[in-house]
């Protein structure tokens, strides 16, 4: 698999705090990578390092295969757009003026594409309205437009839906999906709003205390969170045969425990197993969401 961003044993130490502790992560090309963690877990610190705003204490990361210690990392960043914490825009300028300044920063030969970009983020009709008079959602979208100037392949969005109203959240979600599907932009998105993230992400990275505790694809996550029945029996072989014969999807977790991914009558199953002299020791319905998965993963610690 090709990666846009990888981190290896990355550490960031502030005076008395360890913000990142041996963090390793892998953001596949073309993915929407959901970066999940508590406040203070190290999400923004990692983003700051990748954006070049801060330097790691030790370890390294690669951006498009270029090592962070290599001088060429600055060139690699030209392929990247980012919103770190809040959208970075000039409040006394209109949306168009903000984009013109960013086009100059990027050295774009002309202003072609600005109107398309404004249309893409839904700010085409803001006219002479200054960014300071924009709503939070509009500012967020302008921030995304600024980050998208120069057609980056990789977009980093730090908490892009924080403080947005439901309509704003939907708009940002649709924009992110559109960018990923239509423009094949790889997106690293950090968020607390797990339910929202689950509607977007193709991959997840869970961070706790400055360390990635798990990286998982959305497919694996779906499997892990799938509604199932966890059953414990005394003869797993009998259970496997019974389920196989009836073409019921299952997964053996141990020699006595299996997960069954189909709705079926408890009575029928118990009777079938009893006929084969297999005793059911326990039976439990499992239904996990991203939230419960995350809480289970990081130990459900107190949120800061």
């Amino acid at each position: 698999m090709e990666y846009c961003l990888t981190a290896n044993a990355l550490c960031k130490q502030y005076k008395h705090d360890t913000a990142l502790n041996n963090l390793s992560m892998h953001v596949p090309k073309g993915s929407i990578y959901g970066f999940v963690g508590k406040n203070g877990a190290g999400k923004t610190t990692l983003i700051r390092l990748v954006c070049g705003l801060q330097r790691q204490t030790s370890g390294e990361y690669t951006l498009y295969g270029i090592n962070s210690r290599d001088k060429a990392i600055e060139k690699a960043r030209k392929r990247m757009g980012a919103i770190v914490e809040a959208p970075s825009v000039y409040p006394d300028m209109t949306a168009e003026e903000n984009l013109k300044i960013q086009y100059k920063v990027l050295g774009m030969p002309s202003y072609d594409g600005i109107s398309e970009l404004l249309k893409l983020v839904g700010l085409a009709d803001t006219g002479r309205k200054k960014a300071k008079n924009f709503s939070l959602g509009m500012r967020q979208r302008l921030g995304i437009a600024v980050a998208l100037a120069g057609n980056p392949d990789f977009l980093i969005l730090d908490e892009p839906i924080n403080g947005l109203d439901p309509q704003g959240i939907i708009e940002i979600r649709e924009l992110i999906l559109k960018l990923n599907r239509e423009r094949q932009v790889t997106i690293l998105i950090s968020s607390h709003i797990l339910d929202e993230l689950s509607k977007l992400a193709t991959h997840y990275g869970f961070i706790d205390k400055g360390h990635i505790v798990r990286e998982i694809s959305a497919q694996e996550m779906e499997a892990a969170c799938r509604k199932c029945v966890r059953i414990e029996v005394d003869h797993a072989g009998v259970l496997a045969r019974v389920l196989h014969e009836r073409k019921i999807e299952y997964h053996m977790l141990s020699e006595t425990v299996a997960e069954i991914f189909a709705g079926m009558s408890v009575t029928d199953l118990v009777l079938m197993l009893a006929k084969e002299h297999c005793e059911v020791l326990s039976y439990k319905e499992q239904d996990e969401s991203l939230e419960s998965y995350y809480v289970k993963l990081v130990g459900g610690g107190v949120y800061e």
Binding site: L53, E74, A86, L106
Partner: protein
Amino acid sequence: MNRLLAANFARLWRSKIFYGLELFMIGYCMLFYRDAYITINVNHKEYSNWNTGFFGGLLPGGIALAVFISFYIGAEYSNGTIRNKIATGHSRFHIYLSNLFVCYGAAVIMMMTYCVTSLLIGFILIGKEAISGIWKPAQGIGMMLCILMAYTAILVFVAMLDMNIARTGVVSLLLTILLLAAGIMVIQYLEMPEYMVRLEEVQDESGETKTVERTVYNSKYLSGEKRELYEWAKLILPSAQVMEVINRDVEYSVKQPICMFGELLIFTGAGIWIFLRKDIK
């Protein structure tokens, strides 16, 4: 670097603060010539301070520059737009230098606005005298550009290293006032005469009291190493150089621009060194 300069200048042309400070410089200039006009035409007194009129913009210019730089660079931090530049691959070295160049450009434009206004208003209100009375204008303008260079480097140093716009503004203004006070003090000490004439009352033989003039040594007169130290301070302090250019028929020396250029190198070098290692939020 060119891209950053283009973006920074585009921002400068849209800056309301910059235009506000331009108006402030023009207003200050008009006030000066109004006073000169009243002195000559209403009070019928002689007036010859045309050097102060032409170069006097350096005084309000210092304040204007402190306000401009703290807002211009401070806004980059407070709006977060400096992150856009770093995150899109611009080197910190270039970001620092481009900010320095644009701030210096703004400083020169502000001073040129003042000088052109002073020539125009001086000529209209007073006549040729207001222009011909300027002492060594070419060297003065050259020195003015050197002073602005050093002063801009100091203020950019302060603004680039502090991410808090309000603190930058306060520090820059205080620094300007302190530098000005230090400059005036240094010049005053150096200008003190070695001997002073003191009036003393003495009784003559007949017992009458008379007032006589006596030349006495000025105990505050700086001599030896202390004087040398003050001479160096005058060279190093941009504010002292401002007083020199404004007030007197100064004999310019090559040491003056060299010192200003040295300050530019020291503050810019130190600023870049720290900025390269700075954690930006």
